[in-house]
């Protein structure tokens, strides 16, 4: 391995460790939000208002989950294609990931809007505050991930894949997989378990 290649590899290692540490602190943030939700998802937190069982449409949430799960798969494919040097396929999978992520976000915003329009916004009970903050924080992460992805896509439209672009893509895919993992817990804990009580 040449000195230059070694340098690039070491820089990449540092960047990837940096992103990793950020993701770990983000997990702690979500841990606190999950704990808050668990505390307020009780008859005290619901405060006489509607509970999860009255509000959540599980079929709708299942569709959202499938969209995000598939997008996590397609960004993995985009990364694999990039490491093997297939630019066209990689672009195809990246753009599919972007579209899947964008439709996930659109569905989530529609759901929020629907809840707020029916008068069950974040202001109406402690349970709903915890719900909107937890799911909304995840949604904000998704929005940031989409912006990041758009930047990567535009860069790659203009120029060819370089080694550094592949590495950027690997960081982006790490972030995206992480968001999918957080969503699994939101799906299980907030919607499936919260929807029962």
């Amino acid at each position: 391995m040449t000195t230059r290649a070694k340098e690039i590899a070491e820089t990449q290692e540092r960047k990837s460790l940096g992103l990793w540490v950020y993701l770990m602190t983000d997990c702690m943030l979500f841990g606190a939000l999950f704990a808050t939700f668990a505390t307020l998802n009780t008859h005290v937190g619901v405060f006489g208002g509607p509970s999860g069982a009255d509000l959540f449409n599980l079929k709708f949430v299942l569709v959202e989950t499938m969209l995000l799960l598939t997008s996590s798969f397609t960004i993995g494919l985009a990364y694999l294609c990039a490491t093997r040097g297939f630019k066209a396929q990689s672009m195809f999978w990246l753009i599919s990931t972007f579209l899947l992520g964008a439709s996930f976000l659109a569905l989530e915003l529609w759901e929020f809007n629907q809840l707020a329009a029916e008068g069950h916004g974040w202001w109406s009970s402690a349970f709903l505050s915890a719900y909107f903050v937890l799911v909304g924080t995840h949604g904000a992460h998704i929005a940031v991930g989409l912006i990041w992805m758009a930047v990567v896509i535009f860069r790659l439209l203009q120029r060819n894949f370089k080694q550094t672009d592949v590495q950027r893509l690997s960081l982006l895919s790490l972030f995206w997989h992480f968001l999918d993992i957080i969503w699994i817990f939101i799906f299980s804990f907030v919607y499936l378990i919260g929807g029962m009580s």
């Binding site: 590899a9 990793w20 704990a35 505390t39 799960l69 993995g76 694999l80 699994i184 029962m196």
Partner: protein
Amino acid sequence: MKKPQLENRHSPAPFLAYIIGFVLSIVTTLAAYFITVKRLWTADALIYIILSLAVVQLIVQIVFFLHIGRGSRWKAISFYFMLFVVLIIVIGTIWIMHNLNYNMMDMSPAEMKEYMHANEGI
């Protein structure tokens, strides 16, 4: 485009791993969904089953999608530290708030005494 030069350091996970991970994730998600919708067990049992399925899917995604931890001790250390902190936050909060809820039940002291007598043997 040339192939990346670093393949011996970061050998990309094969397509097969992604496909297996994707299929397993879909299966666990659908399983969690259907046992909840069909109410196959009591609510208490369902909570544990749903949470176990979520943890299974977490492990599946870490193994098949994240392909991390190769050669980085610090990633592993920060991961375990995160797990430690999150477990303290989540389990600690649920435990304490449950106790608080229990102790703040809407009862007069006499009723509470009665209740404790009946349920706790105090």
